[in-house]
Amino acid sequence: MGMAPQFGANPFAAPAGVGAPDPYAAAAEAFAAAWRAALGSGMQGSVEDRAAAVSRLSDFLRSRFADLSAFAALGPQRVQQQRSARMVEAALRMQEAQGEIGRLWLDALRDAAGSFAQRCADPAHAATAPAEIYDAWIDCAEDAYARMAHGEAFCTAHAKLIDEQCRLRKHMKTIVELWSKELDLPTRSELNSLHRTVKALRSELARAPPAPVKPAKTARARNKGKPR
């Protein structure tokens, strides 16, 4: 065998510039380093440190797997591999959309905190009882949330998140559907087909003229011809 052919981008390849002779060993070392960083110093620090460590690990994994579609799919499992790759891509896009919503929420919380601080500093609105202070915070938080929720940026991000969730669900359903076929279980498309048929039959039945009512037989007519 000569040199292995290159089939597009390899997520296990070492980052550009590292110059490692063995890309798989370099990738393994990069993975180990990322996990060590996340589980080591980050996890032992404050909440912010831990969040930052998780975020760094997430960014690392995304950078390595972002281009799965370019990873050559060959052989009898080609279709399954492509399907899985599409699902991973959809999951990553959904994660990004969630991140955008999270950023907007943080902005709204910052806005709420600013309003709350102003309100507390204002002698005209100074609350002293814990319940009053709490209610004042809720007012500020809800107002800030409403400003964000009515805004164009949030509506767009919200719609994007739902759309990405739908795409992910669609990929998952495709895989479940295939597994159901393999296991000879009823699939969603088969059931839908039956539901459509039942609905059409019901509509037809509702439109049909009522069946003529047969006159009730008298006792004599019922007994006619019967042996006594």
Binding site: A131, Y134, D135, I138, A141, E142, Y145, A146, A149, H150, C155, T156, H158, A159, I162, D163, C166, R167, R169, K170, K173, R188, L191, N192, H195, R196, V198, K199, A206
Partner: protein, 335 residues
């Protein structure tokens, strides 16, 4: 009564919902039509059919004896009927709005008319049920004597309508696909309209106040109703969100149900429209739009200082709303 609010809340879990005696007079698949037993001398009014939304259960209108719109109407001598759409399941995923309006609601109307031996009835639509009632009234004006709408969205794109802003951006077809949408999902959307108040403050206030058995039972009943959300038939929901929220067809006069245009200008019967000034789900402007769109020359609008839920269960609503509706329905003077 325990002084520990957590124990007191646990003790209140037995609180039952639904108060007024009633009989089933018609059933078809998951649809049930009830007739409430009279509690007062009959008033001179056509039978009343109450149409509730698909998104929650109608027992909110008869939650407990002292918080019951239906009991208030019965007390005024009205002959009250109620449509219960039931809990759709996977087999109902292809049920359309036409099925709900032209088959199910139509069958209920026919049954009430048949039982009462009259040609027309009074229709009371609540929330989405009000939208349905308006559509039905426009399609079948000969069957409606008077129309009452409560917290009913008509214009689905008013500036204060947050739900509408969220819905307008999403790919409804992809979201619903061919399936039903879980009641919990919609519930979360409703709670997300005011998350701090609805998911936090109300519980803090509940547990912060001295435990009171009656108040806690009321709270438990409300909680049970809020979380008792039926799944929504996928096709009907897709039509509702697309046609009403995204395309605002009712306002533009382009809505078609079963191939027939729903023309609100053909709605010429007397209309009483009640809506809440503090309604965060259906802003007042969304309901008030009915006045400019209807062809009725006998339109009465009332903006009450209430929220969406308060319109059915608040103490003030018990004093104001049933008498308002009953007086209007029984009033025979020419308007």
């Amino acid at each position: 009564m325990s002084t520990d609010p957590i124990r007191a809340l646990a003790a209140a879990q037995h609180a039952a919902v639904g108060a007024s005696p009633r009989d089933v007079i018609f059933e078809r698949d998951k649809l049930t039509l009830y007739r409430y037993r009279p509690i007062a001398r009959p008033a001179r009014a056509a039978p009343l059919l109450v149409v509730y939304a698909l998104v929650n259960r109608p027992y909110m209108l008869d939650l407990q004896p002292d918080r019951s719109l239906i009991r208030g109407l019965l007390g005024a001598g009205l002959d009250v009927h109620l449509v219960d759409w039931g809990y759709p399941d996977g087999a109902d995923r292809f049920t359309t709005l036409e099925d709900y309006l032209e088959t199910q609601l139509h069958a209920c109307v026919a049954e009430v008319l048949r039982c009462a031996r009259v040609d027309s009835l009074n229709l009371l639509g609540v929330c989405q049920g009000g939208t349905f009632s308006v559509c039905y009234g426009a399609l079948h004006p000969e069957r409606i004597a008077k129309l009452v709408t409560m917290v009913t969205p008509i214009d689905f794109q008013t500036p204060a309508d947050l739900l509408s802003k969220w819905v307008r951006g999403i790919d409804v077809g992809a979201w619903i696909d061919d399936g039903n949408i879980a009641g919990e999902t919609l519930n979360q959307a409703f709670l997300a309209l005011m998350p701090w108040r609805l998911l936090q403050q109300k519980y803090v206030k509940l547990l912060g106040a001295p435990p009171d058995a009656r108040r806690l039972e009321n709270f438990v009943r409300m909680e049970r109703w809020i979380t008792d959300s039926p799944d929504l038939a996928g096709t009907a929901l897709r039509e509702f969100l697309t046609w009403f929220y995204q395309e605002n067809r009712l306002v533009h006069g382009t809505l078609q149900i079963g191939g027939r245009t729903v023309d609100l200008s053909s709605l010429r019967r007397p209309i009483l429209n009640l809506y809440g000034a503090r309604d965060h789900l259906v802003p007042p402007a969304a309901s008030a739009a009915l006045e400019r769109l209807t062809g009725s020359t006998d339109y009465t609008g009332h903006e009450l200082d209430l929220g969406h839920i308060g319109m059915y269960v608040s103490d003030r609503a018990q004093r104001q709303v049933p008498p308002l509706i009953a007086d209007w329905l029984t009033c025979t003077r020419r308007r």
